[in-house]
Symmetry: C2
Subunit: 333 residues, 2 copies
């Protein structure tokens, strides 16, 4: 029988970082991010090279905060939204760190945390890192239209967040914040083919993971200070609330979504909110982690959600599968 | 200091499978594969859907050989060459198994083995699987030209293998074949920008992993019955031999390459040989694994190699980074 995995060795989070673009800096969490580029092209010639700069910067900051050198890191788990995840590869290639490429669309942040935690748990690595990114301009032109077209966006569309985040996990450093539990997501599709409604595609997978987690772990939503989905946005989050309520899960008032938190949605005209693997990375690393550090929260559930489509699969009429990986991060009392 | 990881719990390989297309069936290993499609479109409307059928079939065979049901498998690590790895997702979506997407280009087979082995090692999963695939027609039109163009191929080009393979690893079943050691690859680029010469891009990464492995493990190439790179092909393998010789590594006569084994290169007019994550999967699962089962070999090193480019990164003039993950598979004496 499948179980919620409990990290018995309590892999410690020893450093996190967040690097964002201008719109994210202008949002309600703006003052919390480690670094922001006013020029979202980061002085590069292409948007993809710019996104690699975000990854590079995020990794540099995380490493520096922990006073680590490249050689100290045994493995890094990386991924992004761009074809063949090249943004991550080029972002970290100068560092010469053993590298596992991962792909989970916007759930990549949670997947990276789980897998680097698992590498530390098994002893595969003493220190393992993860890094994820997304960029409005690279993602929009790949999945929908080049931004130069100035296409009008639909109300359910989410704004791909321009951001990168890195997390460093260790078995040999001290920290009172650790990976506690994890649950791997199951891909689920429920007939969504609208590429402008990722929230609807991801909500059923998020519901499945959340319901499985509470059933298998015996925990209760009230045990947690914050329960946050990765980036369903307003549309997806409201669908998820409906599903959970129908299934009898009282998720409570601590339930939120990174895609709803990163922008002032109305004021910044962000339609359904934020998305992209940089979204959950930036919000978790800058906001939730700070609350853990300051002892304002003690127990956090992140449910990283992703839409596993490609532009080609959409053109071929395929449904958009969703996936949601869960990770529990706890502050030692 | 970074180390070679030794799987202390000896995760057991309890089932493997290989599913190939017509050209692979016509090759020297043709009789060893579990299943072959004479129609490489597998009665589907698109090449991508066909490749998903290959994944589905490979997984079905591996599961059936081990007399397992979907629910018995705790996690599956999957990846392919196609944008956003949708081939893998759609190939397995009906099975409803917890799913981690991975991307390592042609090294994905080795990456999947390492990560599913690590999931079993840590206790994250009791039974974990991996599945990888590639397809000549999906890869060629994505990376180079649609096959309908009938473009002439260069001498250094490799033929993307049409194949899928699955491996099931368990901590609770008996088997005398197990994962022994693993070493995560480091992305390395050495100035290659020719998208028709993947072998040259991957060879330096393979050399780095092989040299690190023998240095860190204290083992000697003579300790192994077979040392096989994933799919460097003739061009890449000869470059690798040159690098190793220059670095003073006597790799010996048991050193081969999956991309050289899968086709009768001259007779089948395969230029530099085979490539694609289906190549190392099919050759390892059908050929090497059979030799282990029959006690004809006892110790096997697989170095899965991948070229971490994308069509866009090539168009933007970026170099092609290579990566090589190493896994040691041993037969218990």
């Amino acid at each position: 029988m499948r179980k919620v995995f409990v990290f018995t060795k309590k892999p410690k989070i020893i450093s996190v970082s967040s690097v964002v673009g201008k719109k994210e800096k202008d949002g309600p969490l703006g003052s919390l991010f480690d670094f922001s580029y006013a020029d979202t092209k980061a002085s590069q010639k292409t948007w993809e090279k710019a996104e690699s700069e975000f990854v590079k910067k995020a990794f540099e900051i995380a490493l520096s905060k922990a006073s680590l050198k490249n050689d100290d890191v045994d493995t890094v788990f990386c991924g992004d939204l761009i074809n063949q995840c090249t943004v991550s590869t080029y972002g970290l290639i100068d560092r010469q760190i053993p590298y596992f490429g991962i792909y989970g669309a916007c759930s990549t942040f949670a997947e990276g945390l789980i897998l680097s935690g698992n590498a530390v748990e098994s002893g595969f690595s003493e220190i393992s890192a993860s890094a994820t990114s997304s960029h409005f301009c690279t993602a929009e032109r790949q999945y929908r239209f080049p931004i130069e077209y100035g296409c009008q966006r639909t109300p359910t569309s989410q704004n791909t967040v321009t951001a990168a985040g890195a997390v460093i996990i260790s078995s040999k450093h001290e920290s009172n914040i650790y990976l506690n539990e994890a649950l791997c997501g199951i891909p689920i599709q429920k007939g969504i083919t609208d590429i402008n409604n990722m929230g609807a595609a991801m909500a059923p997978a998020a519901a499945d993971t959340i319901i499985r987690y509470f059933k298998l772990s015996g925990n209760n939503p009230r045990n947690f200070d914050i329960i946050a989905t990765g980036d369903l946005g307003e549309e997806g989050h409201s669908i998820l609330l409906e599903i959970l309520s129908r299934e009898g899960v009282e998720i409570g008032s601590n339930f939120t979504d990174c895609g709803k938190l990163i922008y002032d949605i109305k004021k910044q005209d962000m339609h359904a909110g934020g998305s992209g693997c940089g979204c959950s990375a930036a919000v978790t690393n800058a906001y939730f982690y700070k609350l853990l550090i300051e002892n304002k929260i003690k127990d956090l559930l992140i449910i990283g959600t992703g839409a596993l489509l490609s532009p080609l699969s959409s053109l071929q009429g395929m449904e958009t599968p969703g996936i949601a990986h869960l990770i529990r991060i706890t502050r030692e009392t």
